[in-house]
Every structure is written in C-alpha cells, then in structure tokens.
Amino acid sequence: MNLQLVVDSLPQLLDGLGLTLQITILSIFLGLVVAVPAALMRLSPNPLLRWPAHGYIFYFRGTPLLVQLFLIYYGGGQFREELDALGLWTYFREAYFCAVLTLTLNTGAYTAEILRGSIQAVPHGEVEAARACGMSGWLLYRRIILPKAFRLALPAYSNEVIFLFQATSLVSIITLLDLTGVARSIVARTFAVYEIYIAAGLIYLACSYGILFVFKRMEKRLMAHLRPEERRQAQKAADPAQENLPV
C-alpha cells in the first residue's frame, strides 16, 4: 500500500469529484424538466401524446447507458453534415455536452416512470375534492396532483439520484476527467491500481451516503404528517383503551 501517493493525488481526485457533481446536478435538473412533461404525456388519454412518451421511456430504460452514450457521442459523427447544417455539430463534438445530454435523457426516462407511478397513486378523493372546489386542468395539477405526486415519489427518486450520481462514472469512457476518469489517468501513470481505485471508491461511497442522508432529511420534513409511529402514538394518546389490544 502506497498511502503517500493517495494523499498526494487527493487534490486531483477532488477536482474530478467537482466535475462529477457538476454533471450530476446539471443532469438532474434538466432530467426533471424532461421528466414532468414526459410523465404527463405518458398518462394522457390522447394516443398521439401517449405513445411517443411511452416509446421514449421504454427505449431509455431498456438499453444500457453506455450504448446511449456511445450512440450520441460517436453516433453523432455519422450525421456530421446534417448536424453541421443545423449548427449543432460544435455541441455534439464536445464530450461534456454529449455526456450531459445522454444522462439527462436517461434519468428523464427513469424519473418520468417514477412520476407516472406517483401521479397514479394520488388518492382519488383528493382529486374529487379539488374538482368539487371547481379546480380543473392545469390548476388541479399545479395545486393538488403534482405537489402530492412529488412527495410520493421522493423515496424512489432518491434512489434514482444516487444511481445517476454513480452512473456519471461512465463519462470517463468518453474522455471526460470526472472522479473515475482522474483515477484512471493516475493509475495509468503510477500503476498504483488498487490504492487509487479504493480511494476513489471511498469518495463515491461517502457522497452516495451523503445524498441519501439529505433525502432522508427532506423526506422527514415533507412527510412529517405521514410518519407512522407518531400517528400511532397520537391515536394511543387519544384512546388509551386501545393500548392493550393485540396489533
């Protein structure tokens, strides 16, 4: 074990982590922008809206991220003239742009599916109550369905964010120097294979559990009214006779 080397390369690894986090955050935000309309289209009764969204979600969830990445990064080259004519070639030439685009489309599809499930799980009574109050269309979605759906989606969404964070390691394959990319380049230079990879792995591990912790806190705040223990305790307080009943 060459610990000195690990200490010396720590600043470079943290630089890589910066790019990893940057790509993660950018893709998550853009992914949400894609996911909300995709989920709404997927649930629309109009087949012209439903089927494209269905196809998009099915394709991006059913194929490996690496293929999608190569398809956009290398595959763009096959349409160079067309992209040039549209003025898009300068973007598709950049590994960074391709990486963010792929990760956005990928996480957008997974998030759309999560959102679809949680929109369908919004209790029917709440929707009926809102309709009875005269809300409909966009107002109903904005005030009742989407806020509720986002809360219901939170546990599954936290998993998706962690998966995306880890999936950004693939961008090292298309030459970007994220945490994995930096680790690979240091290994290629020093041959300290396991020291560097283990150090990078520990950084990923710490960040993964950091993200998990943030989401757990958020969940606790947003779902405070649904916490089961407290509710049971409140019930017990209201009706002490129930305490002796077998559960």
Binding site: P64, Q166, A200, G201, Y204
Partner: protein
C-alpha cells in the same frame, strides 16, 4: 436496406457472449445473495456485520469503478502480496471469468437485499410448524423455505437481472468481446457508429422485452397453488 458490411454475424456472437456473461453472473449473484441474506439474518454478529459491510460498500460505489478495481486491482494486489512473501507470481485474468466474477460479486449485494426481504416474508408459523414436526434447520431450509422463497424473491430478482444485463455493457472496458465491444469493433472498421450502436441498443431492448415475458411466466410458476385474494 441496411448494409452491415458483413459484421452482422459478429454482433450476433457478441449477443451470445452478453447473454452467457449475464446468466452466469446472475447464477453467482443468486448464490451470493442467498448466502448474504443468511448471514444478515443469522445470530452471529460477525457474519451480520460482514454482510452489512458487503452490501453497503458495493451499493455505494459505481459499477464501472468496481469493475476496474476488481479486474485490474486484484491481480496487482495478489502479485504484490506474493512478492512480499518472496514468490514471483504473474496473474492474468480471463476476461470472461473476471467479468462474471465481478458482476456476480456486485449484483450479489443487490440480491442479498432481495433475499433478505423474501426470507422474512415467509410466515413464521410455517417454520414453527416444521420445528414442531421435528425438522432440523437444514431440512426446514430445504423443504419449507427454499421452495417458497422464489415467490417473494422473483419480482426483486427480475429487477436485479434487468440492471445486470445492462451492466454487462460495462465489461466491454475489460476487452471482453460482448455485444458492446463487437459493436465498437464494427464501428471502427466501417465508420458507421450510429448504425452499429443503434442495432446493439435494439438487441439489448429485445433482451429486456424477452426477460419481461419470461419473468411473468416464472412468477406464475412460483405462485402456483397460491390463492389470489
């Protein structure tokens, strides 16, 4: 019509390698999952802790990094250790074996969680009844637990399989000639990257579709004899 310039057969062979790697890794992951779940539910603190460290570490680190670490790191580590003990060792992993070991090891952690939940879903009363009949622990596992555990584990295992088969694309970085790698080779020779990667993606999609259908059949089989409410 699409001109693959003679590389179609190569993609087909790559597809076979992908499926082989996927199935072998799944088998390994299931074995590790059952062992891991057993360790997590056992009374032994050391075993429990070991299994918890295994699942925590594996699920917190990207697959790609783990593949690099296991494929390149393990031989070097063993060589260095052997070198310090005075042996001169040269290790070279067979990419297929290394791929299977790596993926099996990673997804064993996910399978552990699936099996832990499944073991806990088996009604306690049945195990008590078996004990009352005088069955031994191993006999209970074989006769009562194992036949039923699939019913609870199949949905979770299906998810693990879907993620696993997509992760096989990653082992193209260790030069195993599976679907992704053959597509890359074909791309290099023909300069048609989009065509080949798109076909590769459709082949993965076909695997996913077939898996969904097979999973439905398996779930019907695992739920035989269960009354639906």
């Amino acid at each position: 019509m699409l001109d693959l310039q003679g590389y179609g057969w190569m993609l087909f062979e790559g597809l076979q390698v992908t499926l082989m790697v996927g199935l072998c890794s799944l088998a390994l992951a299931i074995c590790l999952g059952i062992l891991g779940a057993g360790a997590k539910l056992s009374g032994n603190r050391l075993l429990r802790m070991g299994a918890n460290v295994y699942t925590t570490v594996i699920r917190g680190i990207p697959e790609l990094l783990l593949i690099l670490l296991i494929f390149y790191g393990t031989p070097t580590l063993i060589q260095n250790l052997a070198g310090e003990l005075g042996y001169d060792l040269r290790l070279d992993f067979n990419p297929f074996l290394a791929g299977v070991m790596t993926l099996g090891f990673i997804y064993g952690a996910f399978a552990t969680e699936v099996f832990r939940g499944a073991f806990q879903s088996i009604p306690k009363g049945q195990i008590e009844a078996a004990q009352a009949c005088g069955m031994h622990r191993r006999l209970i596992f074989r006769r009562i637990i194992l036949p039923q555990v699939w019913r609870f584990a199949l949905p979770g295992l299906g998810n693990v399989w879907m993620v696993l088969i997509k992760a096989t694309a990653l082992i193209s970085v260790i030069q195993l000639e599976e679907l992704m790698r053959t597509a890359s080779i074909a791309m290099g020779a023909t300069r048609l990257p989009f065509t080949f990667f798109f076909i590769a993606s459709l082949l993965y999609l076909a695997i996913t579709l077939a898996s969904v259908l097979i999973q439905q059949r398996l779930e019907v089989w695992a739920n035989r004899g269960i009354r639906r409410a």
